[in-house]
Structure formats: C-alpha cells, structure tokens
Symmetry: C2
Subunit: 210 residues, 2 copies
DNA sequence: CTGCATCCGCCTCGATACTG
DNA sequence: CAGTATCGAGGCGGATGCAG
C-alpha cells in the first residue's frame, strides 16, 4: 500500500505530500491550541471518518510532526518542534481566508477554539512593542486567555493565573465591534459584552489585533 | 453538482475549501513564477489529469485568485492581487518542506522554475538592508534573474537588462556550495559554475539567502 | 467510554482518447 | 494548443464492531 505522492524534487511538493491531504491542516489546527486526545480532535473535525483520523495521526507521528504522550485512555497528541513551525503558516492561511468572509454558509459548524486561533492569527507584533498584558476570554462559556509579551502573543485554553482583564462575550459580538458595526457601549448595554478589570487592557485588543 | 466543503465557520477551513485540494498549490506555484498558458502549467504538473487542471483553473478564476487574459491559443493565466497574497505563504511552506530533504526519491521530477521559486523563498530581507543588486542565473540552460531592492527579492523568468553578475551553473551545485559540501573554487574548476561580472555580487548570494 | 480497525458505497482523481 | 468526454482505480465518508 504505497502512499500517493507528487514525486517531485520540490520542497513545496514535499510539504504537500506530508500535510497537503484532506483534513490534515484541520487536525493541525486542533493541535495548535494545545495537546489533544483522539476524541477531542474528533469533536473539532465534524465529518471526518474515524479511520481517516487514525491513519492521519499515525502519519503525522511517523513524520515527526506530532507525537503521542501517554497511552491507553490518557494518550494525547501534541506538536513537535517541526509541527510547531507550522503555526505562523496557519496564521497566514487564516488571514488569507478572511478575504472570503461570505464563504461559510449559515449551516456551517463552529467551535470556540477556532476563534481562539483566529484571534491569535490577527495579532500584529509590530504594534506591541513594550506591551505586556494578559487577557482572559469567556466566549459563549469557553475560557481561554491571551498572553502578550515581547511582541509575541500566545492563546492558551483555560483561565489565566492573574489576568489584567476578563472579557465575557461571544465571537460574533467581538467581530461586530472590530468591524465598527457596533460599539463597546452598545454591546455592554445589551449584555453581549462584559469587561472585568483594566478597561485599558481591553482597548488594547483593538490596537494590537487586525 | 455541489463542491465538497468542510462547511465550517473558520477562515482556515475556508482557505482549504478554496486552495486545499490536490494539485491546487502546485498550480499556484506555476503562476507564482509569472503568467502561464495552459500548456506551460501542464508541463510543470507531471501526472495531473488535463480535465482536473481545467476545472481547477475555472475554480481559481471564479474565486478571483487567478484571471485569464486573452483567449484562444494566446490565453494566459495569472494571479490576481488576492492570489499574489499567497506568495509569502508559499515561501513559508517551501522553507518548512526543507525540514524533510530526503523525502523526494531518486526518480523525482524536477523543473528549474521550482528551484527559482525556492531561491526566492530562501531570501532573508533582514540581511538585505541598503543592498540593491541584480543577479542573472543560467541553471542547466534555464535563464532567470533575481532583482533585490528595498529588502525585497523577486525572481523573474528571462535575462536581466543589466545584471551585476551572471551565474551559470545548476541547482545541485549551488545547493552543494550552500551546504558547504563543496567550494566555489572547486565548482569553478570542475566547470560546474561560471561567474561573469561582479564576484562580490555573487558572494551576496550566500549572505542574503538561507 | 475511548481509541481505533473493518467494511462498503461513493466521489474524486488519473490516464487516455478525442474535438474545435 | 486548449481544453472536453469517458472510465477504471483509489481515497474518502459513514456505519459498525471490538478491545482495553
């Protein structure tokens, strides 16, 4: 059973042979928000065949892009250093995909972790010189936080130890504010947005992100 | 006849719906080295079905990623502004693919235009401050040139108007020199490398590129 | 219940032949 | 040269089974 390959002496073709198949990038999207168990990956990949996920994971581990820690019911997959190198590329692809905002239909699936990675992608390091801040988000009940330091931004699942600000909202509201379709004040009045802590830290959200 | 889609409200999934299918990135690779006719694209895509290339091109044009100029046998495809935004992403994928130098088998296909794009990908703008130089390459008979200015590098098919240096060689030799597996002097003695013009400009090749 | 493996129908792909 | 038509092969999607 030989794997299909472009069979070209080209690094782009090599990359596509390894991570260009259907679902692979979306598996990586799952791993880019932290280690995941098989079931957690499945939950973020609606429509994938369970066998396909299993073979993809075997390939990714074999290639040294992901690795498996623990086994049995505690087994979890995480990115290796080489897999982690795909993070900026995924950011770029996400930002490119925003050229087509109307692509997703009304019946499209959604997961808060996808928004989390999208926020990380929108970070603009060149605007973050000298800024150090931790923002905690509660988007439709899903909790994560952004740690911004040294012109780097990393999104992590779960609450922050000591956040400068906690933002309770949903992704649609934040997008609407970002697009100037609504105001912070209006969103707060409609209880679509709640800001706890340093409001200046909250306003950084619109300075440091696209 | 509906197209297969991940159907997710996620910009990464959107991007993959549009350019994540088999062959699409390699079609873009062809267009990233300049406008191409149907036949020229085919030549760079060994193994693709002609029907598949036709449908892919129709999709890319429909999406506004590529556009068709002229028609009949003079028709040519080129990238739109949105398609051009994929250039840095292709560079990043190429550089990531170089983590797996042994992937391509001995029977792998190769085309000089792939090397041309790979060289463009290896350019390090942060090392090119204040440098302005034009290098012409003749790799195994294929002619292109690099124009470096304002910390940008663009590879263009064909000879340069007034190159600072002309480098006649082949990609294997340049890679070997870059990896310190051979020296410039040795390559010149074996007539695997010929340098016409400013030798200092040639040495920039190893300063400005990875 | 999680973490897969097996099986099967279907859709996409790959190759060739053919047309304007 | 620039595609279209056709058809066999193989990867994918969904359901099911099963071991730890």
């Amino acid at each position: 059973m030989k794997k299909r390959s472009y069979n070209q002496a080209c690094s782009l073709a090599t990359a596509l042979d390894l991570i260009g198949e259907r679902w692979t990038w979306l598996i990586l999207r799952g791993l880019l928000t932290g280690p995941k168990r098989y079931k957690d990956l499945l939950d973020q990949l609606p429509g994938i065949g369970t066998n396909l996920l299993a073979t993809r994971m075997k390939d990714l581990v074999w290639l040294g892009i992901a690795e498996k820690s623990g086994n049995g019911r505690q087994a979890a997959y995480q990115l290796t250093a080489i897999g982690e190198q795909l993070r900026p590329i995924s950011h770029a692809l996400i930002n490119w995909g925003r050229n087509f905002p109307d692509h997703a239909g009304a019946d499209a699936q959604s997961r808060p972790q996808w928004d989390m990675l999208a926020i990380e992608a929108m970070f603009r390091p060149e605007r973050a010189g000298g800024i150090s801040v931790v923002m905690e988000f509660v988007l439709s009940g899903f909790v994560f936080h952004l740690a911004i330091r040294n012109q780097q931004c990393r999104a992590v699942i779960g609450p922050a130890v000591s956040p400068d600000v906690r933002i309770t909202s949903d992704s649609a509201t934040l997008i609407a504010i970002g697009n100037r379709e609504t105001t912070v004040q209006s969103a707060e009045e409609k209880i679509h947005l709640k800001i706890d802590g340093d409001r200046n830290a909250f306003s950084l959200l619109f300075d440091l992100f696209e």
